[in-house]
Amino acid sequence: MKSNEDNPITTLISSIVAPFILLFGMYIIVHGHYSPGGGFQGGTMLAASVILIRLVLGSEVGQLQFNSTWGTPLGSLGVLIYFGTGLAAVFFGGTFLNYHFLPIAQEASMKRSLGILFVEIGVGLAVMAILIAVYDDLLGEEPDA
């Protein structure tokens, strides 16, 4: 957004709070199969942290944290991780997203846990990248960045 006059209170508070929001978002993504939360909520929280920095410190500082050109590739990578996990199960003889057929661990419970973790990471990455891309496209100020 427009570079506002440097307000020390919002700058200080947002720069203190934003890393903790990022950390909590990653915690929610990783613990999505034990507790409430998951890929969508965690990804939204990561996007909220990045958007908070862009909102307070301006888009120029925000570009250093998350460049606008990364939005579509990271979103596509997240979708690719999701469908790659599902199609890997198909490739190794199961049905789509059947984690029991993934060749990533020995015991079945560990396979399902890691499979859900991959899917959650994919969903979180896609949601974060697309929400930041929506914000950047809504502003539409920096076509070169």
Binding site: M1, P36, G37, G38, F40, Q41, T44, M45, A47, A48, I51, L55, L131, V134, Y135, L138, L139
Partner: protein, 81 residues
């Protein structure tokens, strides 16, 4: 079970919705809609749907308000009242 909390949250929900409909300033309407989302999230948590309440709090209180404020700054009011 928690009917007192539920009734309080429902009253807050309806009041905030009516305020956000009646107010003329769009920024105030966005803020009251965020309060609406937060009250709805608390209501979901009271009813036992923690996952839905969490999603409502994150999306409705975090992202939607920011996107609406950006849209307000990108548009302009036609009438000058």
């Amino acid at each position: 079970m928690h009917w007192e909390i539920e009734i309080t949250l429902f009253i807050v929900l309806i009041l905030v919705a009516l305020i956000s409909l009646a107010v003329r300033n769009l920024l105030t309407a966005v803020v009251t809609l965020t309060v609406f989302s937060f009250a709805a999230a608390l209501l979901y948590v009271v009813m036992g749907a923690i996952d839905v309440g969490f999603t409502e709090a994150v999306v409705g209180g975090g992202i939607t308000g920011v996107l609406m404020v950006v849209l307000i700054f990108k548009t302009s009011r036609r009438s000058s009242d």
